[in-house]
């Protein structure tokens, strides 16, 4: 798909997607991941700076996907969860590792993985997945 094969579209998200860099509002202290373009609590009074998250948290809820969208068909079944990071924000991602440990509340940590390939000649997208610990 056209939006998926855009190099700048992928490139401008590297810091957040590869290294879990979010942001924090200096006015109210709220931490955001994915990084927000504005602090919705303070709006124009807010001042955002980059913030490095540790990459540890617990599973808030999860599902096992059996019917995948284009580009993910070969991976089924796979686990998608919403992770509650220790710093507060929640984020969606794939859970990997020993899935017998899978449960609401189970601890996970961020690991760097391939997410999907945009066809044979397209971009190979990387990012973070969440490994059960």
């Amino acid at each position: 798909m056209s939006h998926r094969s855009s190099v700048p579209l992928a490139w401008r998200r590297f810091e957040a997607r590869y290294r879990l860099v979010g942001n924090r509002c200096l006015t109210c202290g709220t931490i955001y991941f994915p990084p927000n373009a504005i602090c919705p609590k303070c709006r124009r009074k807010g001042k955002l700076e980059k913030y490095q998250l540790k990459g540890e948290g617990k599973i808030h809820t999860y599902t096992i996907i059996h019917a995948a969208p284009s580009g993910f068909e070969k991976r089924v079944p796979y686990c998608i969860a919403i992770i509650e990071l220790d710093e507060g924000p929640k984020v969606l991602g794939e859970v990997v590792g020993d899935l017998t440990l899978l449960d609401i509340g189970a601890r996970v940590r961020a690991v760097f993985r391939k997410i999907y390939e945009d066809g044979e000649d397209g971009i190979i997208h990387y990012g973070l997945k969440w490994e059960l610990v």
Binding site: M1, H3, R13, R17, P34, H60, T61, Y62, T63, I64, I65, H66, A67, A68, P69, S70, G71, F72, E73, R75, P77, Y78, I80, A81, I82, P89, K90, V91, L92, G93, E94, I104, I115, Y116, H125, G127
Partner: protein, 387 residues
Amino acid sequence: MTRRVCVIGVGLTKFGEHWGKGFRELAIEAGIKAIEDAGISGKDIDAMYIGNMSGGRFIGQEHIASLIAGELGLNIPATRVEAACASGGLAVRQAYLAVLSGKHDVVLVGGVEKMTDVKTSEAALTLVGAADQEWEGYHGVTFPGLYALMARRHMYEYGTTREQLAMVAVKNHENATKNPIAQYPYPITIESVINSPPIAEPLNLLDCSPITDGAAAIVVCAEDVAKKFTDKLVHIAGSGHATDTLALHDRESLTEIKATKLAAKMAYEEAGIKPAEVDVAEVHDCFTIAEILAIEDLGFVEKGKGGEFVEDGETRLDGSIPINTSGGLKACGHPVGATGVKQIAEIVLQLRGEAGERQVKDARIGLTHNVGGSGATAVVHILERDW
């Protein structure tokens, strides 16, 4: 005194796989039926709003509103409205506001989607466009997946059971057997839902609304003008619209749709009624869990008790608040841009006493609830008859 706004005509195509009919034929068929039902002619129409989610990706066609106006031979202002699966409901609201403002007297609202001209995986990818592409779609989540995340959390927090989810689908299929336009007018059982193939656990195939072609249309009209055409006026007594973050993970609670609560509050206040006064409702059951969230967030039952409420039969045709008499998105079908308009059409038929075998006795106040994405848009309308 503010102007009162009415719905004076409705039109629906059959919902299903229309291999022989294209986008424009479906739109025109519903539009003509609504115009005939209202007893107006094309020259009476001042403006048009069309709900459509993704003509661009389903059939490669943008510029939808002018396409339909052109086909109808009308040169009136025509506007496409997009809010994912809430496009139809939001188009109705734009027409309501246009008439309420006094700018227009008679407005045609259409909702249309032609989804079966692409492969299922392609359709799924298009629908994920209603989620946050950069932070949700990127990781391979699907729409059933997002609602499955909500379902799992609702089960965890409130003890909602797998069987209770299935009961929503069973009830909606039962209603669809009484609806001539329904895509799946076939009864199913709890066992068949639970044993259907898994799509995104805990949701199975029969927990999910289908991919559908179809169109719906209504004629919205100022009350003073409407009296020229018909005596059976159904008023839009309240209209509410709210939004929330596109990404599910950015929301504080995953066991409620906050936008539904806010839109409902707006609509209830405008109509001056309480949830208990609603006689019949069409809610956004894109997945079984979505209907349970909806009946809680609309105030028909306390938060967390939706599953039990369904199990107790309260939402059946003969229950205290019949929900989705059309069969809902689940069994009547879900042509995404058309759904919100179809919901209004179904409630108008109910209030006029024209719903045939699925008629709710003496229905006087009805509600529609249309959601976009995983809850980033919600549109609620309250309709009422005076007679």
